[in-house]
Amino acid sequence: GDSVTQTEGLVTLTEGLPVMLNCTYQTAYSTFLFWYVQHLNEAPKLLLKSSTDNKRTEHQGFHATLHKSSSSFHLQKSSAQLSDSALYYCALNGNEKITFGAGTKLTIKP
């Protein structure tokens, strides 16, 4: 079946430093990859999505590039802000459903 792996459960960074959250996946289907963000006491919301190999996708200062050769879709940002503190999920759509990774809790300190 489909699977999504996020290797970091918790990431703590100082404001202004770059952010990189890892995501790798396994699926037998041609697929979309997504990043969702969930702020405290809010619903998860879509941050980025992509289905195009080797194309950079950007939104709200975050970017990710889908690499099908390595089955990866890492999330990056050049400079972290306090408001980026949240739970980040990588997800893929496979056979009739969207599967989520375990999530990475990102905490940005002043």
Partner: protein, 114 residues
């Protein structure tokens, strides 16, 4: 702007009781889902419906039963709750069929089983 509405937002109950969660979406989407978000924040799909038809039925206990009256509504009933059912239940909708589109989530229904 919220377009997926869930009720109730919170519910506290005792083991063995029945509970129902309601979900309505005003986005005109064809597909709706129930996800469970546990205490470790793991998001697991439970069910999905496309135009009132059940598409995905993951391995969940039989005490859970979804119900869809039309493509804008998807409810979840738990017949006899257990302590491990304590979680946030998230309803979502999608513009694509069969999981091809992005998900729009409701605010969630937090269940606490005493």
């Amino acid at each position: 702007e919220t377009a997926v509405f869930q009720t109730p937002n919170y519910h506290v109950t005792q083991v063995g009781n029945e509970v129902s969660f309601n979900c309505k979406q005003t986005l005109g989407h064809d597909t709706m889902y129930w996800y469970k978000q546990d205490s470790k924040k793991l998001l697991k799909i439970m069910f999905s419906y496309n135009n009132k038809q059940l598409i995905v039925n993951e391995t969940v206990p039989r005490r859970f039963s979804p119900q869809s009256s039309d493509k804008a509504h998807l409810n979840l009933r738990i017949k006899s709750v257990e302590p491990e059912d304590s979680a946030v239940y998230l309803c979502a909708s999608s513009p694509g069929q069969r999981g091809t589109g992005q998900l729009y989530f409701g605010e969630g229904s937090k269940l606490t089983v005493l």
